[in-house]
């Protein structure tokens, strides 16, 4: 299933059970997969039109009345465009609003540079009180949705909209604040988030064939990062690689570096090298930004060589 379909199905279940769960969006119900919910839940679905600032603050107001709003739009407009509304109306005011940004990083594809957020995690990570969650696959997203809904506070959900390769098994157990170790290893740790997780797993197999035993950990919650798991794994393997569909400044790489600031461990990065996006399809964009299995393998070897 497409990730947006899973997201919408989970929301529908929650809206059915609790009339205070609602969607507030900004003319992107169709893109977010939630348009069909409007007819089913007319008193729980509100379209602000193309007015993201208003969307964020309306949701904060609804939250003060006991509602549990989910706001949604494309990632750049869900973050950098409404940064102050998120900071003040939502987080500073301690409002229970879930913020869903779709099409993160290169997955904006044909919408190009204007719609391609390489900085959204960085923008929100410095706002106190924010939780930042980026799902890997439909299994993790399905497990996470009720947990996010129950969590009383703002969460940014960085949602890849389309079908994502399945990484987790049906027995997957989700803890919002614990990173998931996908594979244990001894030579280096690859911390990975979001849509590149399957690529990290593939890279791990190629590294194994070359005698490098990589530990692969999915950091689905980038803030607050699971410091305990990050530090313990880094100390065990002695070398670290971060892999993300985001600028290497401000996102997962920065979060891992901060956690490891007092450790003498090399930390290499696969991520967007402080540049804006551009138009193109995923294979082109992966190559252009260095978000490939080949580059993960190459950079992992570099991390090991720095031990």
């Amino acid at each position: 299933m497409e990730m947006r379909a899973v997201y919408a199905a989970c929301l529908a279940e929650m809206m059915e059970k609790d009339k205070h769960v609602c969607i507030v969006d900004a003319d992107l119900g169709k893109a977010s997969g939630t348009l069909s919910l409007r007819a089913k839940f007319p008193e729980q679905s509100f379209d602000c039109g193309v007015a993201e600032q208003n969307m964020a603050s309306i949701a904060a107001g609804l939250s003060s009345y006991g509602f549990k709003p989910w706001i949604e739009t494309f990632t750049p407009f869900a973050t950098r465009r409404i940064c102050d509304q998120i900071a003040i109306s939502i987080s500073y005011a301690k409002r229970n609003v879930k913020i869903v940004g779709t099409d993160p990083g290169i997955s904006a594809e044909l919408n190009g540079g204007t719609h391609m957020s390489m900085e959204d995690i960085g923008v929100l990570r410095s706002i106190p009180g924010m939780v930042i969650f980026e799902p890997v696959d439909e299994i993790q997203l399905r497990a996470a949705m009720p947990v996010l809904n129950e969590y009383d506070g703002p969460v940014y959900v960085r949602l890849f909209r389309k079908q994502s390769p399945v990484v987790f098994g049906e027995d997957y157990k989700f803890d919002l604040f614990k990173a998931d170790t996908i594979k244990t290893g001894k030579d280096l740790t690859i911390f990975v988030s979001g849509m590149l997780t399957a690529d990290a797993v593939t890279a791990g197999q190629q590294l194994a064939a070359e005698g490098i035993d990589a530990e692969i950990i999915n950091v689905h919650t980038i803030k607050p990062i699971d410091r305990e798991t990050v530090i313990a794994s880094a100390r065990k393997t002695g070398a670290v690689l971060t892999v993300e569909n985001h600028n290497v400044i401000g996102g997962l790489h920065s979060a891992v570096l901060e956690a490891l600031a007092e450790e003498k461990i090399p930390v290499c990065a696969v991520g967007v090298q402080d540049r804006f996006g551009e138009v193109g399809k995923l294979p082109y964009l992966r190559e252009a930004m260095g978000l490939t299995v080949e580059n993960i393998v190459k950079t992992a070897k570099k991390a090991v060589s720095l031990k």
Binding site: S57, A60, L62, S64, G66, F67, Q85
Partner: protein, 275 residues
């Protein structure tokens, strides 16, 4: 209980001046211009209970021009939400009375405001929430004239009309001044009534927004619009710094000005008519 609203206004003005004077600096001008609106709401019109500040179905007031916090605190204290002595903690480290309204710190404050434009949107969300809950509450909000230059005000205005939020009554504190000069010079918002009408709102203009009887009548009139399918904007033509002549005379300089305890004491005598 019936209050003498003119006396209430004097009390709110004096306490606002006293707490800002105690600190030595504050948003005095835009606090003094909104006193009549606050008195009418908290001492006559709103369905509230200071002993039960979280009462379900209560009317709410959201001060989108959050820098009028001190005047709101003076109003809440006079209405019995908390001890008037607390007013002197305004803006001191650790206070529950920060310069801009904070729903998580101050009893009786229903929304955190201060980043201009946002509180008004929040108020629209609150009005929508009240409609959905069918609790019959009236949601009041106050915006500044300078604040009306924010694009978010008009996003929210459009949405409130489109959703027929006739449980929402807003005020504009049209004192014609902002930090850098007159509103007309900086970026004119006129014709204001026509703008709100064009956005689908009922509009009531109050010739003197510092005449408590005129404000009272306007709110009574606005309440009649409850089933009109339209939100209502009450434009209050006010005087920034109203009640203290030397503060009025500072003009745009009274947005955030210094005031000594001696000046505050003299201002209080002037408000009380003792000079």
């Amino acid at each position: 209980m019936n209050y003498d609203l003119k006396e209430v206004c004097k009390d709110i003005r004096c306490d606002t001046v006293a707490c800002i004077g105690h600190l030595g600096v504050g948003h005095i001008g835009g606090c003094l211009s909104v006193v009549e609106a606050l008195a009418v709401l908290y001492f006559k019109e709103m369905n509230i209970d200071p002993k039960r500040p979280q009462m379900a179905g209560r009317d709410r007031f959201i001060c989108s021009k959050g820098h009028a916090g001190p005047a709101v605190y003076a109003t809440l204290a006079n209405r019995g939400y908390f001890d008037k002595k607390e007013l002197l903690t305004l803006n001191q480290g650790g206070t529950n009375l920060p310069s801009h309204c904070d729903m998580n710190r101050t009893v009786g404050i229903d929304m955190t405001t201060g980043s201009l434009g946002q509180g008004f949107s929040c108020a629209v969300g609150v009005a929508l929430g009240s409609k959905l809950e069918k609790d019959g509450a009236t949601i009041y909000t106050l915006i500044g004239d300078g604040e009306s230059q924010e694009g978010q005000i008009w996003e929210a205005a459009m949405f409130a009309a489109a959703k027929k939020l006739d449980n929402l009554i807003a005020f504009t504190d049209y004192n014609k001044l902002q930090i850098d000069g007159t509103v007309a010079e900086v970026n004119d918002i006129a014709p204001l009534a026509e703008k709100w009408a064009a956005f689908g709102w009922n509009v009531i203009e109050v010739e003197d927004g510092n005449d408590v009887e005129q404000v009272e009548k306007a709110v009574e009139h606005a309440k009649l619009g409850r089933d009109s399918g339209k939100p209502t904007m009450i434009i209050l033509n006010t005087l920034k710094g109203c009640g203290v002549q030397w503060i009025v005379d500072l003009g745009a300089g009274n947005h955030n000005s210094n005031i000594s305890e001696e000046q505050a004491a003299a201002a209080i005598r002037e408000i009380r008519g003792e000079d």
